[in-house]
Symmetry: C2
Subunit: 334 residues, 2 copies
């Protein structure tokens, strides 16, 4: 069966194709009566506009590209969910690519650009300066989600990583912890650096330094091993700050099931993100909640705000969710 086009509708009503196009766009030049007839005919014939043809003509696809580098992290399903829904509400579509292990954003971005997406969101990954320039030349907006660039040459939306990490450190110290350790993600990422730096900075303010620091690679298994390494060290930590919840869960399981330790009696563990399992009784993880909804909204605003220039680095505040995995006393006024 042949697809029905605006030409078919035009023929059915006895008007020109341009009149159909205008009628369906509710152009003021077309009379009420004609519009009515055209809408009726379009419905009867089951006409659906061809967005591909429209895109070619208008030079605008209403598609947004999303490149996810860490889709298996339980933090992202909620992001994806909100993103697709908000876009759908705006009448836009989402084109998704998950970057395979061992590949870079640069490897998958070009194939997305061939589809002329109006904008690109990149989560958990950064952009080579080459691609950044290329995007800039073709005037395709980009927003980094949960990552930032130090030179502010690209839009980014992040949580206030530094501030939140400082708060975590302060609360732990004020509650009597003295042997603090950290499990990082990947040292080449901005989230890692910012959370790490904030935490360590606050320690120094109190005359302390890290008794251990390990890399968990942002995975459950990586953090499981990292925690075990930490506990083999000379100075055993009495608190571990994991810069992502998946890793906190791994660390928690490691010290509990492998070493038979009690949490939070023997050791406090704090995470970052507030993924769903964090609030389950089996973990009851104290963590920093990232305001996903706000972050997604800001991301899309940056993407579509026509006069967003120069690029902005948006930061939204996180919120410490105090649960049972860390021995914390009441907050002290500062």
């Amino acid at each position: 069966m042949k697809r029905v086009t605006s030409v078919d509708v035009a023929r059915a009503v006895g008007v020109s194709q341009s009149t159909v196009s205008r009628a369906l766009a509710d152009d003021s030049r077309i009379s009420k009566e004609t519009k009515r007839k055209i809408q009726k005919a379009a419905a009867d014939l089951g006409y659906t506009p061809n967005e591909i043809a429209r895109s070619l003509q208008t030079n605008k696809t209403n598609m947004v590209g999303l490149i996810m580098a860490d889709i298996l992290n339980p933090f992202y399903p909620a992001v994806l969910d909100l993103m697709t829904q908000q876009l759908h509400q705006m009448g836009k579509q989402l084109m998704l690519i998950s970057v395979p292990a061992g590949f870079e954003v640069d490897d998958v971005l070009p194939s997305m650009l061939q589809y002329q997406v109006d904008g690109v969101v990149i989560t958990s990954a950064v952009l080579s300066s080459h691609m950044r320039d290329l995007l800039q030349n073709r005037r395709t907006r980009v927003v980094l989600f949960n990552r930032s660039l130090e030179d502010f040459s690209v839009n980014s939306v992040c949580c206030e990583n530094r501030a939140a990490s400082i708060e975590v450190a302060r609360r732990l110290i004020n509650s009597g912890h003295r042997r603090l350790a950290i499990i990082g993600g990947r040292p080449d990422t901005s989230t890692h650096r910012e959370r790490y730096a904030g935490f360590e900075e606050e320690l120094r303010l109190h005359g302390l330094e890290l008794v251990g620091d390990e890399i968990g690679g942002n995975t459950y298994d990586g953090a499981y091993e990292a925690a075990l390494r930490l506990m083999k060290g000379r100075r055993k930590p009495d608190a571990i700050f994991c810069i992502a919840d998946v890793m906190a869960l791994g660390a928690l399981d490691a010290v509990r099931s492998k070493l038979g330790m009690k949490v939070p009696d023997d050791i406090s563990i704090v995470g970052f993100d507030d993924i769903p399992p964090a609030s389950w009784p089996a973990y009851d993880l104290t963590t920093v909640r990232q305001p996903i909804r706000a972050m997604v909204s800001r991301t899309l605003s940056l993407l579509f705000d026509p006069d967003n220039f120069p690029p902005m680095a948006v930061q939204v505040p996180g919120k410490l969710m105090v649960r049972g995995s860390a021995r914390l006393s009441a907050p002290v006024a500062t």
Copy 2:
């Protein structure tokens, strides 16, 4: 900056646009020499083919639509990951929509079809007969993932739900359990019905019947409550089969943290899916693993196999992962 088109390349080399098009498609009619010059010029100018224009011409977008109804279920990130990667390898793109709560597939599908996707995959949801016919008319292939229709009017890829559930029941019974209960997802879904039916059937074969059956709505929280209801019943179960892992985790947390029961000593709990947390020590969940990779491959095969007609219902075998949440004795030969 103006986008560079095949016309620009043609002008640069001094040939016609059609020659450029053919050269880049490696058409045999174009001489090696001309091809070389064209490729060079294309690279120099930074030419990227416009897939939108190409799609309009060829009536083929190389885009696949994915409609996910249950994206927050931890089972799906892995599906999504494999799907985008396999598609990318095939030179195709993924257009994603997550169905918001309270909406139907029918509400979001049309907007996807306007983009002329070559095929549609629907997870955790079904298709109205109206939409089924509409898709059939425009010759757009559909595959249901993890759901099936009883009349086989649409392609589907599922796990062998019945067989796996029978095995779960048999193993539980052979291990001495006599008071079996089940927590279902949503009664209107095929996965619910098949798993429920297989489980109950095997019970009857052994002269048993369910001591309880509750609905968990495929969510952690729903199953948490469902488990508590089950334990308030007249005949307390000594084993609960949850037809999805998220629910098994909720049930587990409910009986352990709320009721202080020991698993598997006081009660056995079995899930379905084998999501990542299932294998974490905190849960150590005995469950049926769905072979995601195979399921995704079969889905894409069905989608692109030109002579896949009539629609098929593909079933792939699940695998019982024996862990610590159920008291199981060694399997008995049958």
